[in-house]
């Protein structure tokens, strides 16, 4: 089997007095979709910041095999003065892609996330769901090999959230990027991922790990199956133990 794309070995992180993460060990294999579930403030986002290099761990080792890392933030982080198209092109511009490639890829990605007819709109005119799609598209355009999601759908209403979960799952099936998805929704975590890691409250520690057996592509109806319900219950139990 190939080496894992990302490995955390005994990683700890402190901010001044506060211990955010303690002795975190896990790895993600090629093509795997890993969900990190935990209460808010448990250091889940810190895991992403360390993985992407935005922050440095206090102790421990982080091995990462790819340089093509996509990062989707909690808020869509669009530039309000750029149209949807220009926003989607932004990261490619920063990476100095040539104009023609940018244009072609943007066309493709816009249609993939269903924003083609909104390409000339400014973010001010978009709904929360559309903004998040644009944000996803922007990262997707660079064909990341490792995709980090920091609770990207947390601020959306349940209906939009469910729809975007489905769309993200379909994108994952199509593109097979390796993913690490931070969330505090158990349902979202199970529906999207092939494996769930449960974090405890501060300092963040891994409390449990669950394999998610459902085949991709998944149907939203599986959320109502008994297997899904049982998994939710187990994960919720671990989540609620002394947290």
């Amino acid at each position: 089997m190939a080496d894992p794309v990302l490995t955390f070995s005994n990683v700890s992180k402190s901010f001044k007095e506060i211990r955010a993460l303690e002795e975190v060990n896990f790895s993600i294999n090629q093509g795997e979709f890993l969900a990190l579930i935990g209460p808010s403030g448990c250091g889940k986002s810190t895991v992403l910041r360390l993985a992407s290099g935005l922050d440095k761990q206090t102790t421990g080792e982080i091995d990462i095999l790819t340089k093509k890392v996509g990062y989707v933030f909690q808020d869509p982080t669009l530039f309000p003065w750029r149209t949807v198209r220009k926003n989607v092109e932004l990261l490619a511009e920063l990476e100095n892609y040539d104009k023609e490639t940018i244009y072609k890829k943007t066309e493709e990605i816009l249609s993939l996330v269903g924003l083609t007819e909104f390409e000339n709109h400014y973010p001010i005119a978009l709904s929360g769901g559309m903004k998040m799609r644009a944000s996803l598209a922007r990262s997707l355009l660079l064909d990341p090999e490792l995709f980090l999601f920091d609770e990207p759908f947390g601020a959306l209403d349940l209906i939009t959230r469910g729809r975007l979960n489905l769309e993200l799952m379909q994108l994952y099936v199509k593109k097979k990027f390796t993913s690490m998805f931070v969330t505090h929704s158990v349902e979202e975590g199970i529906f999207l991922s092939s494996r769930v890691i449960v974090f405890s409250g501060r300092p963040g520690k891994i409390k449990g790990e669950f394999k998610i057996p459902f085949e991709y592509p998944r149907d939203p109806k599986i959320k109502f199956s008994s297997a899904f319900g049982k998994l939710s219950l187990e994960i919720s139990k671990v989540l609620e133990e002394n947290s």
């Binding site: 992407s52 290099g53 935005l54 890392v69 990062y71 933030f73 909690q74 808020d75 982080t77 530039f79 309000p80 003065w81 932004l90 990261l91 920063l94 990476e95 400014y122 973010p123 001010i124």
Partner: protein
């Protein structure tokens, strides 16, 4: 199209009502409160308008004054804008630069300009140049502070996004910070525009030499107890201020109104 006119009308009716109210009060004071012998203290609106705008001598004086004041204000404001923008940009680049410059920016705001005016006159003469310097001092603060607020306004996530893609300082400034600062910058410019006109009139008023702008006219009319002309020159000064304010509001709406929440109409 018709709808636009209706909104336009709707928007102009309330201030017009206020105007009518003020004019009524004005007439009441002139004709009811003041005795005929003291009526020169507040001449009625129509004679203010007549003396100021229909007597050719006064009219030409006031128009010439208006042009000079406008010129001085706009040159001063442009210089204040360039210096202010560069200062804010420098301050946004490093904490130590901000700490070094901030007190001096506040200084321009708090210095009693009346005390500085004679000194500026001694150093730079009493004509246009000195007046422009007064304008710059009086109008630079809102530009610096508002632009700086805008430059600093982008969220840490937006900055992280650029960090992840190894953006240089230059890229960060041009692609993120400067565009982000534009709405606040226009707010600053709009405030400064009004101040620039005040600065230009104040400078003029105290220097009292060289080509006469509105300030010098105000002073001369005041000394000669020409209340009608004094009030019509004051009125013109106010109208100039309002026009400039309105121009910058319009510019702001045109340039950033399509994406900025604070400027969209």
């Amino acid at each position: 199209m018709e709808k636009m006119y209706i909104t336009y009308l709707k928007n102009s009716i309330p201030p017009l009502l206020v105007l009518i109210f003020v004019v009524c009060i004005h007439y009441t004071i002139t004709y009811v409160v003041l005795e005929p012998t003291r009526r020169f203290l507040l001449p009625p609106p129509h004679s203010i308008i007549y003396e100021g705008f229909f007597v050719p001598k006064h009219r030409d004086e006031i128009i010439r004054g208006l042009l000079i004041t406008t010129k001085v204000s706009l040159i001063g404001l442009s210089i204040a804008y360039i210096i202010g923008f560069i200062t804010a940009l420098l301050m946004s680049q490093a904490k130590w630069i901000e700490r070094s410059l901030y007190p001096w920016a506040v200084f321009t705001q708090t210095v009693p300009i009346l005390a500085l005016v004679p000194i500026i006159g001694f150093w730079f003469g009493f004509d246009i140049l000195a007046r422009i310097i007064v304008v710059v001092i009086i109008s630079i603060f809102p530009i610096i502070i508002n632009t700086l607020t805008g430059l600093r306004g982008a969220s840490s996530n937006l900055h992280d996004l650029l960090t992840l893609h190894n953006a240089t300082r230059w890229t960060r400034a041009t692609k993120l910070m400067i565009p982000y600062s534009l709405p606040d910058m226009f707010t600053g410019l709009r405030t400064s525009a009004g101040l620039a006109i005040i600065g230009s009139i104040v400078g003029d008023f105290f220097f009292g030499r060289g080509s006469p702008g509105l300030g010098m006219l105000l002073k001369a009319y005041g000394q000669r107890l020409r209340t009608e002309e004094l009030l019509s020159a004051t009125l013109v000064s106010c109208l100039l201020g309002i026009t400039v304010f309105w121009c910058f509001s319009y510019m702001g709406r045109k340039l950033v109104g399509h994406w900025s929440e604070s400027w969209s109409s």
